[in-house]
């Protein structure tokens, strides 16, 4: 049975630099997987490759049954299937600045999926409600707090009901209380929707508290993986220990 995401031997080269040197990675449906590593370890590159935002040199990516091959990024018209199966939440939320929260969420369902406006609005309001920001539906991104904006961005990514949700550093702009609330929400999303969540983060507390599994990326290779509790309590690889130490030193 195929997982929500299966990455095999992923290699990415930019110029002279080999950013990913053969990464194997699997995310199961209903699973919260934390992708950890220091800055420049290649976390964002993994997410961007899976989301077909950048080309890769070799390996394969199977995202919920849609297989990406090495080489240039295919034309958008060939990626329709992938787009409906994989959602992405960007680090700085990247909400459309000229649209209110509700319109941010309904834009893709109406224009990319061809839903009626009424249906898109109903689904969007439901998502905003579930994420606790329905009262901000008419607000523009500038008027939202960091936490609110992020929830709207999650609602936007979830509107097409993807099987796999990619999130780039979701906790970087949040205070501890909001971080906990976000963790609970993501757990619910994974359990109830049967979705796979791949979350890049260097927030050890968040990973320990909410993620099922942790993969550690160092210098373009996967150096350690396993249940969050095991990996983060009893790290075996120097890179993991480094990561934990670094975290503890600077809260």
């Amino acid at each position: 049975m195929s997982g929500a995401l299966t990455v095999t031997g992923l290699r990415v080269v930019r110029g002279e630099r080999e950013i990913l040197r053969g990464v194997d990675l699997r995310v199961e449906p209903g699973e919260l997987c934390a992708l950890m590593g220091g800055s420049g370890a290649g976390k964002s590159t993994v997410l961007r490759s899976v989301a077909a935002l950048q080309p890769f040199e070799s390996g394969t990516i199977d995202a919920g049954g849609f297989v990406l091959q090495p080489g240039p990024v295919p034309r958008e018209s060939r990626l329709k299937e992938l787009r409906s199966r994989v959602g992405m939440v960007f680090q700085a939320h990247s909400l459309f600045e000229h649209l209110c929260a509700l319109d941010n969420v309904t834009l893709a369902p109406v224009h990319a999926l061809g839903w009626t406006r009424a249906k898109a609005k109903e689904v969007a309001l439901g998502l905003l409600e579930a994420l606790g920001v329905a009262h901000r539906a008419a607000a523009f991104p500038r008027e939202l707090s960091g936490g609110e904006a992020q929830r709207v961005a999650i609602a936007r990514a979830l509107a097409p009901n993807p099987m796999l949700l990619l999130m780039d550093e979701p906790t970087s702009a949040l205070d501890p209380a909001r971080r906990g609330a976000l963790g609970d929400t993501l757990c619910e999303l994974a359990r109830e929707g049967g979705r796979g969540l791949l979350i890049s983060t260097h927030d050890v507390e968040f990973a320990r508290g909410f993620c099922d599994r942790v993969v550690i990326l160092s210098d373009g290779v996967l150096v350690e993986e396993g249940p969050a509790a095991d990996v983060l309590e009893r790290p075996t690889h120097p890179a993991t220990r480094d990561l934990l130490q670094h975290r503890d030193a600077s809260p």
């Binding site: 958008e76 459309f96 000229h98 990319a112």
Partner: protein, 502 residues
Amino acid sequence: MRGVIRRLRGSGAILVLSTLLLAACGREPASTDTAKPPLRWGGDAEGGAPFVEADPANPSAVRGFDVEIEGMIARGLGREPRFVQVAWASIEQSVERGDFDVGMSGLEDRPELRARHAVSIPYFEFHEVLAVRPEDRGRFRRLDDLAGRRVATLGATMAYSMLLDAQRRVGVVPVSYDDDVHPYTDLVAGRVDAVLLDNVIADRSLKRTGGGFVIQPEPAATGHYVAVFAKSNAALRDSANEVLRARMRDGSLEQTFRRWGVWSDQQARYFQRVLAAEPEGETAATSGAERATLATYLPALLRAAAITLVLSCLAMALAVAVGIAVAAGRVYGHPALRALLTVYVEVMRGTPVLLQLFVIYYGLSGVVRLPAFAAAVIGLGLNYAAYESEIYRAALLAIPRSQLEAGRTLGLSEGQILRLVRGPQALRLALAPMTNDFVALLKDSSLVSVITVVELTKQTAIYATNVGSWVVPGILCSLLYLAFSLPLSRFARRLERRWSTA
């Protein structure tokens, strides 16, 4: 030395002799007298033969019957003529400013001219004649046959006044040009149905075009060419009149006119009349000089202001549409298309819009015969499109990549991302520079008067020429432009504020 003077004073005979000598010196030709300044005279060499044209043998010199007559006047006054080039429509204003002593370039004797300046006796009599296409020879015999038809002439002339009068009486549509060549080429091209100008210009154009139109035999009016002086310079005018009469009498004027092929029996009879009626003076001066008042010109100014506004709005709409297409092509297009569009932008920005208007209206008339207003909209629109496209291109490139990637991960196509995400955000960035451009376009729209569209500035110039002052027309015109541009800037600021808080 003192002793010598005392002795000279003492001698009455010597005193008389020296006085005569001094007086004689004064009458000597200027070539031997360095004390007398040259007689500066203003004319427009663009007006061409037979009035004033650049000498083909020596393009820095001018020739023509006005040049020769001016030479006679100058030498008669014991001065050297010195030519000053000036735009024909500005001769009267310039002479009053003191840019030169006398203006001459086929200037028509008009009551307003005499009311405002010192004017010489008329030195040439002409007829206003109607030129029509050969097939219209039978039906357009007189001005009154041209109700609802477009009739061309030179702006700020007696013929233009006649057309305005005919507009009121029978509904003729006057079309004003800045030169006397294009009225006839547009007549042949079918853009206008008749041309009303004096017989000298009409004959010259008939020779130049080699047919293509006919001149109706019945003159529409009779007029005269005069030289114009500053109002305060009546003394010089009087001296010049003496010289002109003398040259009429001794046949020099006749010889000149014969040389330029404009002599006729009519001219001979006219000279006889002038010489018999001596001193004729200013009899024409008071022949009902109607002063143009604010009330008579305000409706025309407002109409012209409306034309400026409509023209600018249409040109801007075109500029925005083409600008968006060019910007999109330069950001998304194939390298070949990008190169092509870059050439378009650089050519449109790198050449004068005046030149572009000429090319579109006159240059392309062999291929596509655009009405003047359409040519103006297209010319200004395509020119401004180049500037708009650069604004949009910069704005498109300023939208963060993550916004576009967010669109892609949501399954929007490139076209949808441009239309729904990138474009609307870029438009907000482009708003302030666009407003600036629209205000600039409002002002640049005054250039289209060169292709016969009478807009606000042109109408103001006509008004100013008629009242002989730029003060009131200038203030009125400025107020009208400000009435357009100020609310526009305010509107843009409000929109910007709303979007920046949103």
